[in-house]
Amino acid sequence: MPFARPDLDTAPDSVFESLDTTRDALRAVYAMQDRADAAAPQVGDRAPDFALPTLLPDRQLGTIQRLADLRGRPVALIFGSYT
């Protein structure tokens, strides 16, 4: 479930400490996220095409896959990292 992002003006210091960050550092993160979000496509927009390599089971890179190659079926994208 989503949760509210800490309010920079009202959240106590303990909130930022629990996130291993500071109020000012998180302010910079918010600004970066908000700028990126404002420029990202909206529902109904053409999805930005991309071409990225697949990851093979042997931990090597495989063929390049384009989003456009998947046209004809819905595509569910999960963006993320390990940490």
């Binding site: 479930m1 989503p2 949760f3 509210a4 992002r5 996130l19 291993d20 960050t21 550092a25 970066m32 996220q33 990126a36 979000d37 420029a39 990202a40 496509p41 909206q42 529902v43 109904g44 927009d45 053409r46 999805a47 930005p48 095409d49 991309f50 990225l52 390599p53 697949t54 990851l55 931990r59 090597q60 890179l61 896959q65 989003l67 456009a68 998947l70 046209r71 004809g72 079926r73 819905p74 595509v75 569910a76 994208l77 999960i78 963006f79 993320g80 990292s81 390990y82 940490t83």
Partner: protein, 132 residues
């Protein structure tokens, strides 16, 4: 793992892709104590082969079994989708954005994503039936 459950539930009708992007909490950037406690400590890769290695570890550890794609070191795809540190999207069969999840971690919402998948598939079935 909620995302993997959703993947298994709809994989016959939907293409799922994990797009591995730059580390959100690299040990040399914004390290999180919770990761340290679980011995998940990786510095931010500076070379593609380093990124590939962590991507492989990530896919196995989570675990997520869909095809993984690895973003380039310029983070261009992650940027195009405002995807840092994590985000969910759904693209319809014609290449149009059908669901735009909010930026993680605050607005990362697998339930809303699954609801969008269900709605999109229902609309596709309805359109197919109407065309007959």
């Amino acid at each position: 793992m909620r995302l993997e459950t959703i993947h298994q539930r709809y994989r016959d009708e939907v293409e799922f892709r994990l797009v591995y992007v730059r580390e959100a909490h690299a040990a040399d950037e914004w390290a999180m104590a919770i990761n340290v406690a679980e011995a998940i400590e990786h510095t931010q890769p500076t070379r593609l082969d380093e990124r590939v290695e962590i991507a492989a570890t990530c896919a196995v550890a989570l675990p997520l079994t869909m095809t993984t794609l690895v973003d380039d070191m310029d983070d261009a795809v992650g940027a195009a989708y405002a995807a840092l540190p994590e985000r969910l999207w759904l693209i319809d069969a014609e290449g149009t954005v059908a669901y735009r999840g909010g930026p993680g971690p605050w607005e990362f919402d697998p339930d809303a994503w699954e609801s969008a998948i269900v709605a999109l598939l229902a609309a596709r079935r309805s359109a197919t039936t109407s065309a007959r």
